[in-house]
Each structure stands twice: as structure tokens, then as C-alpha cells.
């Protein structure tokens, strides 16, 4: 399954990109994150939440295969 992953703020500093597409064979969000942790070794040290289709999800959520975003701590206002 082809998914789009978006990176923001200090996460985008680690990945050095704001967006990419990944072909994954996982069923859970945790599978995607494991893949990313391998690809970007500094990601483990960063604090972030995960959104799927613009809603926050946790690692055990089923991957429904659309837009995943890695969101560092919010700083609005």
C-alpha cells in the first residue's frame, strides 16, 4: 500500500524533507513508525504525535492507508 507521510517542524529537520511516499506492507501505525525509525535514526529521540487522515492516532491504530503526519509538540499562539 502506498501512503503519504508528512513531516513538520523539528521532525522535518530530522527527515530533511516535508513529505514523502512510502510503499508499506504493515497493518498498524506502529509498523510505519518502525520503518521510519530505521530509515531516520534520530527520530527515536524526538517527541511527536501521529495523525492519520488529520486525526490523532496511537501506535495500535489500524493503518487505513492515506495521509500520515508526524507532529512535534504544538506551539500555536
Amino acid at each position: 500500500m502506498l501512503i503519504t507521510i508528512k513531516y513538520f517542524g523539528q521532525i522535518a529537520e530530522v527527515t530533511q524533507k516535508e513529505e514523502e511516499q512510502l510503499e508499506v506492507s504493515e497493518y498498524l501505525i506502529s509498523g510505519v513508525i518502525n520503518t521510519l525509525n530505521t530509515k531516520y535514526s534520530d527520530l527515536k529521540n524526538k517527541d511527536f504525535q501521529i495523525a492519520q487522515n488529520q486525526e490523532l492516532v496511537d501506535l495500535e491504530t489500524e493503518l487505513t492507508g492515506a495521509e500520515i503526519a508526524l507532529l512535534p509538540p504544538f506551539a500555536g499562539g
Binding site: 508528512k6 513538520f8 517542524g9 523539528q10 495523525a51 488529520q54 503526519a69 507532529l71 512535534p72 509538540p73 504544538f74 506551539a75 500555536g76 499562539g77
Partner: protein, 147 residues
């Protein structure tokens, strides 16, 4: 003034005092309003380990953020007897002393606006995916975290 479609809350750069004054002016035709309450977030020249913040550069997960602003708006109208509500947030660079957040609520009566404004501002800080890069005078930076 309640509406159902998400709108774009973001403005490029700082929110000016003229914009705020003009927004107040536009509410003077609404003669059922007795009380307005306005929150303004202003960029502070914080001193961190001997370095001084000169600006914050804001980015956002814009689609999700506008959706969250919309949910906050709907929820505030449901909880409180508001006549009007407006939210504006900056994107891009906002210098120290400039305004990056403008929240404006209006109601027939004052008790409502105090409660509603605090509710909305706290929800924005907690729930909206906006990110802030604090840029120091020497061009180095750190990432802002809401507390």
C-alpha cells in the same frame, strides 16, 4: 455569525493593530452585543541561555489545523451564548512585539465572553498542529513548546 464550513484561520505574517481595530469597528453594527473579549498572543523577546529570541517562524499542518479551529469554533458556539467569534493565526515569520494570534468573542452579556475566550485559547494551544521555530538574534534557533 455562526457558520458551518471550515474557513482559513491563517494569515501570512504578523496580525496588525489596524486589522484588529478594523475588526472591532465592524462589530459596531451588531447592536445585540454588550461585551467583547479579545485575546492577543504577542511574540516575546525571551532570553534563553544568553540568547534573545528575535522572531518566531510559524508553520502548520494547515488542513488539519483549520479543521481543528473549526471544531473548536463549533464547540464554543454550542457551550456558550456567543453572538460572534473570530480566530486569526499567523504563518511565517512574526517578529518580537508583533501579534501572532487574535481571538475575538462577543456576546450580549459579559460572563459568557470570559469563559468562552479562555476555553477557546486553551483549546487552540492544546489541539491545533501549529509549530513555532524561535529564531535567536544570532540566527540559531530552537523549537517552541506550549506550556
Amino acid at each position: 455569525m455562526k457558520d458551518k464550513k471550515p474557513k482559513n484561520v491563517f494569515q501570512e505574517g504578523a496580525i496588525t493593530s489596524e486589522f484588529i481595530g478594523n475588526s472591532i469597528y465592524k462589530h459596531q453594527t451588531k447592536t445585540s452585543i454588550g461585551a467583547h473579549n479579545i485575546f492577543l498572543g504577542q511574540v516575546r523577546a525571551d532570553n534563553i541561555d544568553g540568547k534573545t529570541v528575535s522572531a518566531i517562524e510559524y508553520t502548520a499542518y494547515e488542513d488539519m489545523a483549520n479543521q481543528k479551529f473549526h471544531e473548536i469554533r463549533e464547540s464554543a458556539f454550542e457551550k456558550f451564548d456567543l453572538t460572534c467569534m473570530h480566530i486569526y493565526h499567523s504563518l511565517g515569520k512574526v517578529k518580537v512585539g508583533e501579534i501572532c494570534l487574535f481571538v475575538f468573542v462577543s456576546s450580549p452579556r459579559r460572563k459568557v465572553v470570559f469563559e468562552a475566550l479562555e476555553y477557546i485559547v486553551e483549546a487552540i494551544k492544546a489541539d491545533v498542529p501549529v509549530f513555532g521555530k524561535e529564531i535567536f538574534e544570532d540566527e540559531s534557533h530552537q523549537w517552541k513548546v506550549n506550556s
